[in-house]
Point group: C2
Chain length 377, copies 2
């Protein structure tokens, strides 16, 4: 049998979550003869582009009528994911996203694989957290809740005894499993985006340098200049994806210190640090994700130019000077409300050299956050 | 006063015509905080992405509520264009598109400017056409109707007395102004896309080689390798846009022979030969057009890679083998009916070298049209 695009035109894809990641997935997917449905509030960005949008209490209706269910965000209510999995439609699978629902599971998964990660302990007891921070890490540690963690939520950074005393009361009130881990004084953070399909075919995007402030990504750019470090990341990413028998796009975040890499975390979905692929690669992370889940061969990644992006965090349109349009490409998500730290849009950057990209990123960052980013997030 | 993106978010753009050009304009424009309305049949491609779509008999309602009216196609009913112009909203202006409503006006405009064009005569009399074809061009000529000409419509190619005798009866029945012009035995066809804004700022995309079959574009790619020819085209394009005090994107088609260029025609809109800019430039022709008409500075064009595109003409999805997705990027317009020669979609191509692009274009063309393109158009 000879496959044609007609085989795609019968496919209906359901996306759980209608934020910017779902929005860009449909923006890219609209070029294919595919149908896209979304589950989220009807005012969510992706609902403006979807063929139909369903409220969360109508999720079963959507799961029924689509062929594939994917998610743009791992913190979708568990029963929704489970329902889609039971119907045999969830990609990536439920056991993958479960690793993210409780962070300790992710840590244990990496530990078992022997993947380099920060030294860590797991405990449910706040008093045990106290002892570990003091005895094992001498007040230089990170305490993380297992549940609900993303964009720096549920994380406590401790650099001194004083820091810890100030936050201990907050920790003592939380009912969760804690990860107490070493504070890694990295040279830089980096991440890579990987795509894998049903045949085990893998495509990798080169690593980018990531700049996080208070646990939230402000900008990233690449490709990373160090080939040895890149190779280490590629090997780890391929191992993770292969061991999970993963289908779709995932991102893996790393700490890099003295040429060594440690995995910080992974995300079983398209990722903020892969937005640059929309404008510097022959195929974006969003298009690769769609290809992976519908079972089309992945496109071989070609990077056409160095590039990066700057997030627009908690700014409304009247705080964005029009000059940014001279430097980069705007993606405005059209969210209905501005909140501090909320991702409202981003500016993609391309340049002939990585130095030119860095210069443009500095310029855009200065235009968006004239008082310094740390005062806005 | 300091401009912010807030100033854009109040802007409503109305697009006359909802075909693939309007569809891609909105696909690109969706990243901006802008509102897009369309006038066309509600099943037109662009209506799937627009904030609202109006039937042609509701055009006045749309013109009333938008700030700017543009068109994706020059053969919009005259009264619609005139109404938008009278309301002071039409960009590009009515006198520009009038040059295209009657082809003889375009020819006269170029002649007056002294722009190199094929030798031509104008007549309303079919008998005069006969005399001109015989006496002036010795049966090697092109006869064009003034009205309704695009994609090879209303054009008669004459290469022999026999050719002419076969088509003369058809010509004799037409009530129109004819252009009788020399048949240019060009080395190749080429075109460039230009953008100009209200401040007279101009941005140019490099020329591409165009392959037309029976008057319809099959593929194009670039950038053109000849710098001297490129310079000649740039100079002509800048002169045309400046003399027209043009605002928006336009395309100019050329014949190239022995290093000399002649203008074939221009299009006061985004153009099929500019589709490649979606995937090889930092800013596409569609985004530049939007920037020009809303009064934002144009983005400085950077070409990231050689590239091109292949049109999907008159093929339904089941005639498109899935292998094309390995080679290029699909843009499927989602038209509700397949007709011979109808533009159903296109495949964008990128490559490290222009030779690689040529090779990929040959491959895609072979996959789409296994019996040879001339048997499909």
């Amino acid at each position: 049998m000879r496959f044609s695009l007609q085989d795609l035109s019968r496919m209906r894809i359901g996306i759980l979550g209608g934020g910017q990641l779902g929005w860009m997935m449909i923006l890219e997917g609209r070029r294919y003869p595919l149908t896209f449905y979304v589950v989220d509030n009807l005012s969510a960005p992706a609902c403006r582009l979807a063929d139909k949008c369903f409220n969360f209490d109508e999720y079963k209706d959507m799961v029924e009528i689509v062929d594939i269910v994917t998610y743009e965000f791992e913190h979708i209510p568990y029963e929704v994911l489970r329902y889609a999995e039971e119907k045999g439609k969830l990609i990536p699978r439920l056991d993958v996203v479960e690793l993210k629902h409780e962070r300790w599971r992710e840590r244990m998964f990496f530990k078992k694989l022997g993947i380099p990660i920060p030294k860590f302990f797991i405990t449910e007891d706040p008093l045990e957290v106290l002892k570990l921070v003091r005895n094992e890490f001498n007040y230089l540690a990170v305490v993380k809740q297992s549940k609900g963690g993303y964009d720096g939520k549920g994380q406590f950074f401790i650099k001194s005894r004083n820091d810890f005393e100030q936050i201990y009361d907050a920790i003592a009130k939380i009912r969760d499993v804690f990860i107490v881990e070493e504070y890694v004084d990295f040279d830089y953070e980096a991440s890579i985006v990987l795509a894998r399909n049903h045949n085990g075919e893998i495509q990798l995007y080169p690593p980018t340098y990531n700049m996080n402030v208070k646990g939230i990504l402000v900008y990233n750019y690449g490709p990373l200049r160090n080939e040895i470090v890149t190779k280490k990341m590629f090997d780890i990413a391929v191992e993770i994806a292969t061991k999970l028998n993963y289908v779709g796009v995932m991102a893996i975040e790393f700490f890099v210190k003295d040429g060594d890499v440690m995995v910080n975390e992974f995300a079983p979905r398209v990722h903020n640090t892969g937005h640059y692929t929309l404008d510097t690669a022959n195929v974006s992370q969003f298009e690769q994700h769609i290809r992976a889940i519908i079972g089309v061969d992945l496109a071989e990644v070609e990077i056409l130019s160095p590039g990066g992006m700057v997030n627009i965090l908690g700014l409304s349109l009247n705080n964005i000077p029009i000059e940014v349009l001279k430097i980069g490409k705007i993606y405005w998500y059209g969210k209905n409300e501005v909140r501090r730290r909320r991702k409202m849009g981003h500016i993609n950057i391309v340049g002939k050299t990585i130095e030119e990209v860095e210069e443009k990123i500095r310029h855009v960052t200065k235009l968006l956050y004239p008082e310094g980013v740390e005062n806005y997030v």
